[in-house]
């Protein structure tokens, strides 16, 4: 399986979208010490092929931990996470990630950041250039190819990070509160763009956020998580049109669903605050 994967990657081919299956996953931080903290407790979740799935919950609910486990950044302690490529054991370009703090290589220009993953994927030089330019254009950074990240605004840095991740064409796109550090205006624009990109590329997206409206705007399905230990309390289908623009914010169904979800999240947040005392 892994040999087949390598062969495909070196020819510079796209990764096919894949569902994600999470079964009985628990995670404890500091497990080796006496005061270990149970961050995730018995998570079961099936994310469909091409689905936009949001993990929503108060801070400290373990939603980022779950994302990092899917990404293979931290080892799975209990349970199994698998994709169509088999069980997840390490990070790989079939599950690429965008972080809240962008994590661009600060010593590389925008273009070299985008080229980094393309080199690893084994694209030929000419195609590398072409693809890098296409994704830079797509996130509206044309003209900033040779800028260093420190010369860009937060929104531009995040768009560069998204271009870098999308360019390697991961089947699964992981996003860890990617718009959390942006101002409200930029955030809204980026949400709409992401939704369009997703609709056109049909990737599986797992998107972590604590913003209810963001989750409802973006997702096909939302998992609402409880805090300490993190459990999935509700999985909610978002029954809204596929094409979502600014106007959806006025849609009765959107508002109703947002309020419903807000109440569910609030329960968790209140419980978490009480639990902390």
């Amino acid at each position: 399986m892994s040999m087949l994967h390598t062969a495909v990657a070196t020819r510079g081919r796209a990764h096919t979208a894949s569902g994600i299956s999470v079964s009985d996953v628990s995670h404890t931080y500091g497990a080796r010490t006496a005061g270990g903290m149970l961050a995730l407790d018995g998570i079961n979740l099936e994310i469909g092929d091409g689905e936009f799935h949001c993990l929503l919950g108060p801070s400290g609910c373990g939603k980022s931990t779950l994302l990092y486990l899917i990404g293979g950044f931290i080892p799975v302690q209990a349970g199994v996470i698998s994709t169509s490529a088999g069980p997840v054991t390490a990070p790989g370009p079939d599950r690429s990630i965008v972080f809240q703090n962008f994590a661009l290589f600060p010593w590389k220009t925008v273009k070299d950041n985008v080229l980094y993953g393309l080199r690893k994927a084994g694209f030929a030089a000419a195609e590398r250039e072409q693809r890098a330019q296409r994704y830079i254009d797509m996130v509206h950074l044309t003209g900033f190819e040779n800028a260093y990240p420190s010369q860009l605004s937060g929104g531009m840095q995040q768009r560069a990070a998204i271009a870098r991740t999308l360019a390697v064409d991961p089947g699964i796109l992981l996003m860890d509160e990617p718009f959390g550090a942006l101002d409200a205006q930029t955030r809204r624009v980026m949400q709409e763009e992401l939704r369009t990109i997703w609709r056109d590329s049909r990737k599986t997206v797992v998107f972590v956020t604590h913003d209810v409206q963001e989750a409802v705007f973006l997702a096909d399905r939302i998992s609402i998580m409880s805090a300490r230990p993190g459990r999935i309390q509700h999985v909610i289908d978002v029954d809204l049109p596929k094409d979502r623009g600014e106007e959806i914010l006025e849609n009765r169904a959107f508002i109703g669903l947002s309020e419903h979800i807000w109440r569910l999240v609030r329960e968790q947040a209140v419980a978490a605050t009480r639990g902390a005392h």
């Binding site: 990657a9 990092y68 990404g71 293979g72 950044f73 390490a90 990070p91 790989g92 370009p93 599950r95 690429s96 990630i97 972080f99 703090n101 994590a103 661009l104 290589f105 600060p106 010593w107 590389k108 980094y116 993953g117 690893k120 994927a121 800028a147 260093y148 420190s150 010369q151 870098r164 991740t165 390697v168 991961p170 992981l174």
Partner: protein, 269 residues
């Protein structure tokens, strides 16, 4: 000063004006001028003997005699080749050791105590030791310079590598980089500011150890020259050699700082 004279049109156009640069440079070097004036005054006033503080004119003529007729350049070249060899080896070994320490717990546990014990030790204390081990040839001085320069490089690299934003490592891994590629392409690059700082300290140490080891164990080199001129009572020539080696050290440091800025220009943006 040379920058301006060499003419860098693009820089001059965007940068400060000619006169500003000249005034600024003059101001920056004015303390040196004051020092030189004080030196001359002390010598001429008779407060200090001319032996101890020879006039700057005497020093300068001793300098040109050594430069054109004597063996100053030969000795300098000998010294610098020793310093460069020791420093170069220390940079290669030190960067590798620092990266390994940062990446592997076992290596860290093995090397850390050694680093902590030897870091504060004055490396010139090892001069007799390396002489016993390797004799009077080049290798004893190179070993000493290597040992003295090693720790600042190790510590700089280790601190830099440990401080790398973990999200950069994860990003690289999720873009398809192997563990070794992450180390070489991300950790090494991200740690570069600290590595370059460690190497700058090491560069200064290499000059100090070069001269001080040549005082004790050498038959050539600038350090040997300074001590034998002093023993022979040729004080103007001795001071000339001291100033010359100080000037080279200064120039090396400026050059190094300039190259570092180039390498790290992504930070200044």
């Amino acid at each position: 000063m040379t920058d301006v004279l060499a003419g860098k049109p693009d820089r001059r156009r965007s940068g400060p004006s000619w006169s500003y640069t000249v005034v600024n440079t003059a101001l920056r070097f004015s303390p040196l001028l004051l020092l030189a004036l004080g030196w001359e005054f002390l010598g001429l006033s008779g407060l200090v003997s001319q032996q101890m503080l020879p006039g700057l004119g005497d020093i300068f003529s001793a300098f040109s005699a050594m430069l054109f007729g004597g063996d100053l350049l030969y000795n300098t070249a000998r010294s610098i080749s020793r310093a460069a060899t020791g420093l170069g080896a220390a940079v290669v070994v030190g960067v590798a050791a620092g990266l390994l320490m940062a990446s592997f717990r076992t290596v860290r546990l093995l090397i850390n105590p050694i680093v902590q014990i030897f870091y504060p030790m004055p490396k010139s204390a090892l001069i007799p030791v390396v002489m016993i081990w390797l004799g009077l040839g080049d290798s004893s001085k190179i070993l000493l310079i290597f040992l003295g320069c090693l720790l600042p490089v190790v510590v700089g690299t280790y601190n830099g590598a440990r401080g790398v934003n973990p999200f950069l490592l994860w990003s690289a891994a999720s873009l398809g980089a192997s563990r070794f590629e992450v180390l070489r392409e991300v950790v090494l690059r991200a740690a570069m500011p600290d590595i370059l700082n460690g190497c700058r300290t090491a560069l200064a140490f290499s000059f100090i150890l070069m001269v001080s080891s040549e005082f004790v164990i050498a038959t050539d080199g600038v350090g040997f020259m300074i001590s034998s001129l002093g023993d022979g009572g040729q004080y103007p020539a001795m001071f000339a050699a001291i100033f010359f080696v100080a000037g080279i050290g200064f120039a090396a440091d400026r050059l190094y700082a300039m190259l570092s800025r180039r390498v790290l220009r992504w930070r200044e943006a």
